[in-house]
Amino acid sequence: MLPVSPGGGLPRLRPLRGVCGAGVRVEARTSGGFLWDGGSWLWKFQSSAKLISSRIMAGKVKWVTDIEKSVLINNFEKRGWVQVTENEDWNFYWMSVQTIRNVFSVETGYRLSDDQIVNHFPNHYELTRKDLMVKNIKRYRKELEKEGSPLAEKDENGKYLYLDFVPVTYMLPADYNLFVEEFRKSPSSTWIMKPCGKAQGKGIFLINKLSQIKKWSRDSKTSSFVSQSTKEAYVISLYINNPLLIGGRKFDLRLYVLVSTYRPLRCYMYKLGFCRFCTVKYTPSTSELDNMFVHLTNVAIQKHGEDYNHIHGGKWTVNNLRLYLESTRGKEVTSKLFDEIHWIIVQSLKAVAPVMNNDKHCFECYGYDIIIDDKLKPWLIEVNASPSLTSSTANDRILKYNLINDTLNIAVPNGEIPDCKWNKSPPKEVLGNYEILYDEELAQGDGADRELRSRPGQSLGPKGGRSRDSGRTVLTTWK
């Protein structure tokens, strides 16, 4: 039962793959050809190819993507999904952030139907833009403080005990004067300037003198940019100049978090995160402030350094990190560190949940960037809406392929045509390398249903005596 010929030259369909999928019958016709698209037999002939083929294709998920990456496309194809263009009827669209903006914008805005799913929330930028993330977290903290929640407890210096996980940040030019005040308090500190709307380390630089950012001052006569349009906006954060070093090198953590719904909050953490190391030895010396290879861990930057290695790509698995920390620092502090990391991710999501457009057609896979300082405290640096799907090494490719695979298994159950009205509660077996990070419904339900991941030893978080209203994460044994 082999296909006759690829006749008709339809793009992106490959003849001859695998075994015939579930029950699609075709009648034989004399003119035309059978094509195998990896999921079903397609009958095509010249005149009414599209009509006939879509009848037979009924039942197959139709996908579109703006991002032509093999880790995505291979995953779609292996499920027997069919590629279409954005003008046709589609079920699944892996969009770039530009597209999502258009899809949901007030002018063009279109209505998604029940069988359409997209990979971004309409206003994801509340979390993924550096300035908005900080704004939302600050607002969240103030709210908790107002309602007297124990989460918002502060220490004797006025620092939040449990919610101080973002380095001191100001928007420029809006908060310029506030920033100057803070800067003068500790004039020897270093600050990092980041453009709000860019990624991959573009446009980032370090400063340690006010003169270096003169042009962001609001009353500066020489200010070359006049408008405070969001494109030119920067955030300036206190630079963490005491990062935890391993082998004398600085690194950051990249963790993947999948959110299927914000209200109720349901999120998953990918177990296989990784550490990205700088190729050059870290030094806090001021002479090296300009050397981005020392300070920025983005692979996009490190890849161009002389010492970049294409075998390991300067990356370590999170498990290696765990082994190293447990061996050199002990089990309790390591468990505490990882608990805190989970905590700050959940808190950041809770902070934006109220303002997030919880559109039921959406899910999103974020790339969280976290830095650990030498006191083993994790800091949230930023959240990426479009984590890179480029692979820098063979291991990388496998990881990203599996990431997308597990993500699709959760977001599009059984690989079938989605119905956005479903309860978004996948069975345990499909999670793959994801584990439940926080499930608001479960947390607020009866304790009996809760999935607690068992942990040997006690987790000594500073989170004693938490009240039930705050909801508990299912990933740790915080009490």
């Binding site: 082998g247 050059v280 030895k281 390991h312 370590w316 447990e326 061996s327 050199t328 089990k331 040997p456």
Partner: protein
């Protein structure tokens, strides 16, 4: 009975002699003097009181640990009239083999030296010293031109000697006295508790016994230090600094070999690339450490000798080269790399590595009849395979894929760089626990047993190598258990 007693007193005398030269002796003396101030020490019962004091204050334990440490490398009792070479290696043909092996290495090293006209050693000019001192912590960024250097030898060169394996040496004993157990989940908490207790007691022998069942990750660094009897005293740190100074002041040819080795192996390894700079710091100092020469008393190998320029053959001008007598080979840095996961303080890392080397690793590249020597390991491996997997053994030999060709490199490196780090550390736990390297041969055989089905289907050496190319997903302890206990009827 009398003979035994006099043997024992000889051993005691030798150990006492050895310990008298150590800093522990000086410390004990000082402590004894200081204790005279204490109220409980009375003149009438001076001896007993001091002994009692030592027991309570933990000094007796320290002495015990030191004695135990000496015993672990003590050569087996031999005839009193035996010459010193005999202690190093009792079998004549073994000595001969090691002798010719050494000649070969030296020839290779000397010819490289003359070809490249680089001195074996030279004093660094002051400017260079300063520069090196400045970048001591980041030698990884150095890019010296190493293209002309070749490693003096690699494990595969060594393999050609394997025909000795057929000569009747020790027959394969399973070599593992007690049963090994994988700590199951329920066992873990109790095991950790016991581990902490062992550490609190600071007892080397107990630690060694304990670690046969594996070490919890958090306790491993301390347990290994206890078993190897390493405590970071100020004089140890000073000694390390002294070695560092030697590195800064003098440049040795072997340094380039070390650089090349690290760049070729550890820098490309998924787990160890992070620690590249530590490896230089440890290995460069190691080559200058003359205290390592002490291990040649029980090593069948002898340190190569070199002569001051122009004084060839004149014994008064002979020096050992390199100063520690150990010429590094391709892959040598992989002995150090896994230790970087446990110790992040350079001088402690250094001490641990040095001790591991003079207790275990040296046996993996010298020819001797010792049961932990590489020759015995090869024999053990082949015997195990032949006994328990005869079909596989003969099949592989028939297709020209002699099993030892594949497993040799694993054993010489003690599996470093082949296994995932957490598994490797579990394996090395057992090396320490049993004070023997035989487990390497057993694991090698167990790996073959595990992949036997696939191996039976291959038809060439290349295909067999492919089946066994990736060990990074293996779990060591279940593999060993299955092999050891599921196959014995």
């Amino acid at each position: 009975m009398l003979q035994e007693e006099s043997d024992l007193s000889l051993v005691i005398a030798q150990i006492v002699q050895k310990l008298k030269g150590s800093s522990l002796y000086a410390q004990l003396e000082r402590q004894a003097w200081a204790s005279l101030q204490r109220p409980e020490i009375k003149l009438e019962s001076l001896k007993e009181d001091i002994k009692e004091y030592f027991k309570i204050s933990g000094w007796e334990k320290k002495l015990q640990n030191a004695v135990y440490s000496e015993l672990s490398v003590f050569p087996s009792p031999s005839h009193p009239a035996a010459p010193p070479e005999h202690l190093k290696e009792p079998l004549v043909y073994m000595r001969k083999a090691q002798g010719s092996w050494e000649k070969r290495i030296l020839k290779s090293l000397n010819s490289m030296c003359t070809e490249l006209s680089i001195p074996l050693a030279r004093k660094r000019p002051v400017g260079e010293q300063k520069e090196l001192l400045n970048k001591w912590n980041e030698m990884g960024t150095d890019e010296p031109d190493l293209s002309l250097f070749r490693p003096v030898y690699a494990p595969k060169d060594f393999l050609e000697k394997e025909f000795f394996v057929e000569l009747g040496l020790t027959t394969g004993q399973l070599g593992i006295d007690d049963s090994t157990q994988v700590p199951p989940e329920l066992f873990e908490n109790e095991h950790v508790r016991i581990g902490q207790k062992v550490l609190a007691e600071q007892d080397s022998a107990a630690a060694q016994q304990y670690i046969r069942q594996g070490s919890p990750t958090a306790l491993r660094a301390e347990l290994w230090a206890l078993i190897l009897n390493i405590s970071s005293q100020p004089e140890d740190i000073l000694y390390y600094e002294q070695l560092k100074t030697n590195v800064i002041q003098h440049d040795l040819l072997v340094d380039s070999l070390i650089y090349k080795d690290v760049k070729l192996t550890a820098s490309n390894d998924d787990y160890y690339f992070v620690f590249e700079d530590y490896l230089y710091q440890v290995l460069l100092c190691f080559s200058r450490d003359t205290s390592v020469l002490g291990h040649f008393a029980y090593n069948s190998a002898s340190p190569p000798k070199s002569y001051i320029r122009g004084k060839l053959g004149l014994e008064e001008y002979a020096v050992f080269y390199p100063p520690n007598g150990v010429i590094p080979f391709h892959g040598f840095s992989m002995y150090v790399a896994p230790l970087c996961f446990l110790y992040h303080e350079p001088s402690k890392l250094y001490q641990i590595f040095r001790e591991m080397y003079v207790r275990f690793f040296f046996r993996l590249h010298s020819i001797s009849s010792h049961p932990s020597g590489i020759v015995s390991l090869c024999l053990l491996f082949e015997t195990l395979l032949q006994t328990y997997l005869p079909q596989l053994f003969y099949h592989l030999r028939e297709i020209g894929a002699q099993p030892l060709r594949i497993s040799f490199k694993w054993m010489v490196r003690a599996f470093s760089g082949y296994l995932a780090t957490d598994q490797l550390l579990l394996l090395w736990d057992r090396i320490l626990g049993y004070n023997s390297l035989e487990i390497l041969a057993v694991l090698a055989a167990a790996v073959f047993a595990f992949r036997a089905v696939n191996l039976m289907e291959v038809t060439s050496l290349a295909a067999a190598e492919a089946v066994l190319a990736d060990l990074s997903t293996l779990k060591v302890m279940p593999l060993l258990q299955i092999f050891l206990f599921a196959t014995v009827t």
